[in-house]
Symmetry: C2
Subunit: 401 residues, 2 copies
């Protein structure tokens, strides 16, 4: 997703038009249906330009006229809205025990949300069987969306761990994968020439979803912390996901809180260790799906169970220490506790906040706030889909077919 | 220095022109004197556009015609170069024991480099006396530059520690300052209305200088590690300094390598602890200026002194552990050991590299390389000056006077 170059590129009138198309799309994305006059007033573009830009976008079926505004004096104006009928985007989320597919239309409305049981571990068979299962679900989702008459803008697969720029999973400890060319294998089995297939890190995509759909008043500097497999962070800087030189960012779970050989942040503050501690009678073999266990921890905590509360307090304190390292380095405005952490946030946040403040050099923890995600367990799938809407919203309109 | 907004701003032809002015300036900055034809060929701008843009820049005295190219067939072309005669920028670097002032002209040539003994600690007198000393040196540098007939594009002061967006030093442990409105105080005492005065973090400004003058083949993702006062990092992401939501980034020295209360990275890998250990007979009171002591450590190491080599090895190992945390989070392409570390890099880097690789999740440490800065002890002052050239290079030309 790296698009910035250090050297500016020559600009021409095409770029001005792309920028202004983006301004109109982002305005409607942020503010909902608006009249041409309201778009002009709010963006600073002149009315003739807005008419020309929206004309293009209507012809491209990215906008539609949605009705008349009558709540004003004078001639009623036509209201424009994002058009969900022509395009869709798909996100697919891979974890050790299940696949999630999610599609949204261009207006951002959810078209489908499917879960499938999955065995991510390649064991002796290589990742081939796992990739086939991912491809089959992707194919079904794309087919469903097309049957509804929508063109697929793209498909992005979210994987926990290190994903290199070309879409190769360099290392995914939760899946037991290393050097799996997931993008290449998927592109091959989907046999959909021209379909934009991408693979990216789980927490990074969840952060993209959180920025757009999380309901936060934060535009630029947000970090999403995922506890779904190990502990990973998706770090948004200046409104864009922190990519690094090769795409390997956000590996906060590897912080060793101690000298060499000490336990890491994910040993001390991971969701699985927390569940094992809070539910001592729990059968470790049944832990492939953490969600029911996490729910049980929440029930115990709500009932005042001392063991569960102690485990949550310790987890929160360690999480806060780890997040202080991150806050000292990147100074986010908001840290969002995602997926399983969100369900336990009311007990984790007080302990985490105290440690975060205590261990951050800047007064008041550099202004960072901690909150819980409201996006549930499929934020990364949503982010995968949303990333293709984001690309259109920067003025890069889909090719006509 | 935060300029990006999440929402794109409407563009018009003025923006196209600013972008293309930037393209021409950046081309000449990177490639040296070039003919109009060479600029057009290399940037993709057409020749008429290049002629018009360079005409503007010559009238603004940012470019000059520097001679004829004759090493080609046909009519000799005129060569254009950055013009250093009309503008200059000033950087000022504050440390606990000295002030450094540096000025460059618009062509990037150094005009002056001054050092002054300094007592940064405000003790009982507040920061007032320190600020007066800084203002006096800034005033002298600005006067000197103006006597040479150059307009001052701006002045930036580098301070170790936390600098808030408005130029207030929130916390500088090395200087013993908290909540000193340095920008306001300086602007007041300089009495130069219209002079662009800024205050920013030491390591961040050094990173800006390193990116431009370090001689590295790295455009986008570079981290500069300063050991001049504590341990701080200047993190460049996608070619821009990582700013965070309030400007408090790069505080790598605060990592506690252990449980709560453990020594921090700067306790274990700071330059001052290293010197104290490598030179056991050294008088701590004489440590206000570390440079001679650092040189002595290098001399001992070169002679094979076991104590110095052991201290350097331990420091390098701890530094590598701290840099691994940073590499796991932001995945830089290059980490540059700056200021005092640079003088000791040949002993620090081997130990640091091994730990960095061992503690980074990504194979091969995510591709990051370690190297030593060649910019010496005034990189932050240079970065302060350069930041004003950078602003012009983005197409924001100086106002005519």
């Amino acid at each position: 997703m790296k698009t910035t170059r250090a050297d500016p590129q020559p600009a021409d009138f095409t770029d001005v038009r792309a920028t202004n198309l983006a301004v109109v799309l982002r305005h409607l994305r942020a503010h909902g249906p608006s009249s041409r006059a309201a778009i002009a007033a709010s963006t600073g573009l002149n009315k003739a330009t807005v008419s020309s830009l929206t004309g293009d976008l209507i012809r491209q079926r990215l906008l539609r006229e949605s009705g008349l505004t009558s709540n004003r004096i004078g001639r009623p104006g036509t209201t424009l809205a994002l058009d969900g009928s022509a395009y869709a985007a798909i996100g697919l989320q891979v974890s050790a025990d299940r696949l999630t597919a999610l599609a949204v239309d261009f207006a951002g409305d959810q078209l489908l949300l499917w879960h499938r049981a999955f065995d991510g571990e390649p064991a002796t068979t290589g990742a081939g069987r796992a990739v086939s299962a991912i491809a089959a679900l992707a194919q079904r989702a794309a087919t469903r969306v097309r049957q509804q008459g929508r063109q697929v803008l793209g498909l992005t697969v979210a994987v926990p761990g290190l994903v290199a720029d070309g879409g190769t999973v360099r290392l995914s400890p939760p899946l037991g994968w290393s050097d799996v060319d997931l993008r290449g294998l998927l592109s091959g089995s989907l046999r959909q020439p021209g379909l934009d297939v991408a693979v990216a890190n789980h927490a990074g995509l969840a952060a993209v979803a959180e920025l757009r759909y999380g309901g936060h008043q934060v535009e630029l500097d947000l970090t999403y912390v995922s506890g779904v497999a190990g502990v990973e962070a998706g770090i948004v800087v200046d409104g864009r996901l922190l990519h690094g030189s090769r795409g390997f960012t956000g590996q906060i779970g590897r912080f060793a809180l101690g000298t060499a050989g000490s336990p890491t942040l994910q040993d001390l503050a991971g969701v699985e260790p927390l569940v094992r501690r809070a539910l001592p009678g729990f059968d470790p073999e049944s832990l492939t799906d953490l969600a029911p266990a996490v729910e049980q921890v929440a029930v115990l905590a709500r009932s005042g169970d001392p063991g569960a509360l102690a485990a949550l307090g310790d987890t929160g304190r360690h999480l806060g220490q780890g997040l202080a390292l991150l806050a000292n380095l990147v100074n986010p405005e908001l840290i969002v506790l995602g997926d399983h952490y969100a369900a336990l946030a009311e007990w984790l946040i007080p302990a985490a906040e105290a440690e975060l403040t205590r261990n951050t050099l800047a007064p008041d923890a550099g202004g960072v706030r901690l909150t819980a995600s409201s996006l549930g367990l499929h934020a990364a799938a949503l982010g995968g889909a949303v990333s293709h809407l984001d690309r259109v919203d920067t003025g890069s309109l889909p090719a006509k077919r």
